[in-house]
């Protein structure tokens, strides 16, 4: 996070407006589209992030590029970011926006790190158990990290449960030392 306090304020503003128009998930999608387009296109990125180009030039580019693909609110918001020289904060703003969306809809983003690919049945079992534990809808992202050796690490926000073999071996090593 570059500056969370700043990003949070932008995120809260656009979230509130989206909520008024009942388009919260749609605006999230639109913002993600803008972010992804810029991230994938190096030339576009260098233009929009360039300190030599004025805000009006950048706004023109954005207008031509995104006006047909995203909703007015998302475009206007991005225009504002360009005007205020805050284009670099878009990623953070999207993350905070989606946090708020998840919070309001009882969704919990959970990261499951495992050593090898797991079968969908096991994944479903993890989701069921986590749902039971937290009482929230689980949005599970599975990542494979062979260095964990075995077991799994579950993390959600700032909390994590480390049941990996890597950690257990480290603990054992500490005990034997």
């Amino acid at each position: 996070m570059l500056n969370e306090a700043l990003s949070r304020r932008y995120a809260a503003a656009v979230y509130e407006m989206a909520a008024e128009q009942h388009t919260v998930p749609e605006i999230l999608e639109d913002l993600r589209l803008i972010h992804a387009t810029i991230a994938e296109n190096a030339e576009l990125k260098s233009a929009l992030f360039s300190p030599t180009l004025g805000a009006d030039v950048k706004q023109n580019i954005a207008q031509q590029l995104f006006s047909k693909h995203v909703r007015a609110l998302a475009l206007h918001f991005y225009m504002l970011l360009l005007k205020k020289d805050r284009e670099a904060y878009l990623g953070d703003i999207i993350a905070l926006y989606s946090d708020q969306y998840n919070k309001d809809n009882g969704i919990l983003e959970v990261k499951l790190e495992v050593a090898a690919e797991i079968d969908p049945q096991l994944e479903a079992l993890v989701v069921t158990n986590l749902t039971k534990m937290t009482g929230k809808r689980i949005d599970l992202n599975v990542e494979v990290h062979p260095e964990l050796v075995g077991g799994a690490v579950v993390s959600a926000g700032e909390h994590y449960y480390d049941g990996s073999l890597k950690n257990q071996l480290a603990e054992l090593y500490k005990q034997l030392k």
Partner: protein, 507 residues
């Protein structure tokens, strides 16, 4: 005896077999930046102020600042292998240190870990380093004397158990010496001692420990040392650690004497931390809460009520002044928190008055009621005599020849009192001897002795009393006060000694 390799592998096998895999559960944040023993941590939105955090290299930190999107954390140990992006875990506890009987005779660091090479401290008792000071109703007035064994202090600025008496003076004026003498004097009492060294040279601390050992008091002492080379976080914690150890004894109904040597360096360490945490600087660049820093520490020293066991914790904080400037920020703060101060004067020290207590500027706000009755009886005229002497001495410098007999007598008396109040280091005086000597000087039995002979008079008078009039000293010790009969006996002894014994020797 060699241990068989088989045996070792057997034990290791057992350990591995009996190992219980556990899921490690934690809440973590991420290090954004680290330097100068201060880390900024992103996340940990639920951490509370003062909580211990654990860095991935095993070093602990303490939460100091809670900000909107990050935490300012003081690292309590080496920070050179903490990296940006490292995980920092919550521990859900605040800092605590081992306390209790296992600590006696030990030298520990600010985290309560032994640094004297005598092995681990085996104890289960722990106490949080921060604790609320006793409430008003939990206390009782200071009424029991805490003898320091120094004539100048016990007679003129008496200290009571549970009192906070500041020792203040320039560098090299004997501040630590007074504190150490006070500890040595507790050898045969029921008072335990804690010496907290803050930001001192390791060499100086070693000397103190050596002195305590040599005089046989180390067994009832704990030395908490945060030396000059240690990070400011440890210097900041050391007094609270010492206080926790003292407090544990106090709440168990025991009596404790705790020395903070010195709080100036403590304040400087805290200033360093505060500035690095970007807290706004105030006067002399100290942060706004530097008063609270010391008040919350010193308020924890108290005489507890009888319901709470009647224990006490007497604090002797030390403050170093610059060129005798007691109106600087930290000295004025601590003067206002404590129940009096012993002011040590550099000029007095240089002119050979040791301890260099400036009687005019030193006060004890509560010690009077704690002073032993006998000391009070003999020391009563002392303050008046000295005050008159000082005003007269200033005047006499201008025109000594024109003084009348009364003034000259007063000057002579003052010279002798000043000589009697001098005392060598590491020889605390038992209270009964002190009473006898002070009696002799205030009643004029030393008036005929030349000032240069006063130390010899004092020494031989004590020896005379010890050998030939032991019962008088014993009854002073037992009674704690001088009744008419005792006063008369003491008078005749002093008379006999000054006119017969000492005079004959002189001839």
């Amino acid at each position: 005896m060699a241990i068989k390799a088989d045996e070792i592998s057997q034990i290791l096998r057992q350990q591995i077999e009996s190992y219980q895999p556990e899921v490690h559960e934690a809440t973590y944040g991420t290090v954004i930046k680290v330097g100068d023993n201060i880390a900024t941590v992103y996340g940990l939105s639920e951490a509370y102020s003062g909580e211990l955090l654990k860095f991935s290299n095993g070093v602990y930190g303490m939460v100091m600042n809670l900000e909107e999107d990050c935490i300012g954390c003081m690292v309590m140990g080496p920070d050179n292998d903490i990296r940006e992006g490292d995980r920092v875990e919550r521990t859900n506890r605040i800092a605590d240190v081992p306390v209790g009987a296992a600590m006696f005779g030990r030298v520990v660091n600010a985290l309560g870990q032994p640094i004297d090479g005598k092995g681990d401290i085996v104890t289960k008792e722990r106490r949080t380093i921060e604790f609320t000071a006793p409430m008003v109703m939990d206390r009782q007035p200071v009424a029991q004397p805490m003898q320091t064994g120094l004539k100048a202090i016990d007679a003129l600025v008496p200290i009571g158990r549970g009192q906070r008496e500041l020792i203040i003076g320039d560098r090299q004026t004997g501040k630590t010496a007074i504190a150490i003498d006070a500890i040595l004097n507790q050898k045969d009492t029921d008072v335990y001692c804690i010496y907290v060294a803050i930001g001192q040279r390791a060499n100086a601390v070693a000397t103190v420990v050596d002195t305590l050992k040599k005089h046989g008091v180390m067994d009832k002492c704990v030395v908490v040392a945060a030396n000059a080379n240690e990070p400011p976080s440890l210097l900041y914690l050391a007094p609270y650690t010492g206080c926790a150890i003292a407090e544990d004894l106090m709440y168990h109904g025991k009596h404790v004497l705790i020395i903070y040597d010195d709080l100036t360096k403590h304040a400087i360490a805290y200033r360093e931390i505060s500035l690095l945490l970007r807290r706004p600087p105030g006067r002399e660049a100290f942060p706004g809460d530097v008063f609270y820093l010391h008040s919350r520490l010193l308020e924890r020293s108290a005489k507890l009520s009888d319901e709470l066991g009647g224990g006490s914790s007497t604090a002797l904080p030390i403050i170093e002044t610059q060129l005798g400037d007691v109106s600087a920020y930290i000295p004025t703060n601590v003067i206002s928190i404590t129940d009096g101060q012993i002011y040590l004067d550099a000029d007095l020290f240089r002119s050979g008055n040791r301890p260099a207590v400036d009687v005019g500027l030193s006060v004890s706000r509560v010690g009077g009621s704690a002073q032993l009755k006998a000391t009070k009886q003999v020391a009563g005229p002392l303050r008046v005599d000295l005050a008159q002497y000082r005003s007269l001495a200033a005047y006499a410098k201008l025109s000594a020849d024109e003084l009348d007999q009364v003034s000259r007598d007063q000057l002579a008396r003052g010279d002798r009192i000043t000589a009697v109040l001098n005392q060598k280091q590491y020889v605390p005086m038992p209270v009964e001897q002190m009473v006898a000597v002070l009696f002799a000087v205030t009643r004029g039995y030393m008036d005929k002795t030349p000032v240069s002979q006063i130390p010899r008079f004092e020494k031989e008078f004590i020896s005379f009393m010890e050998h030939e009039n032991k019962q008088i000293l014993d009854s002073i010790k037992k009674e704690g006060k001088l009744d008419d009969k005792l006063m008369e006996q003491l008078g005749s002894c002093a008379e006999k000694f000054s006119s017969e014994v000492f005079a004959i020797e002189e001839a």
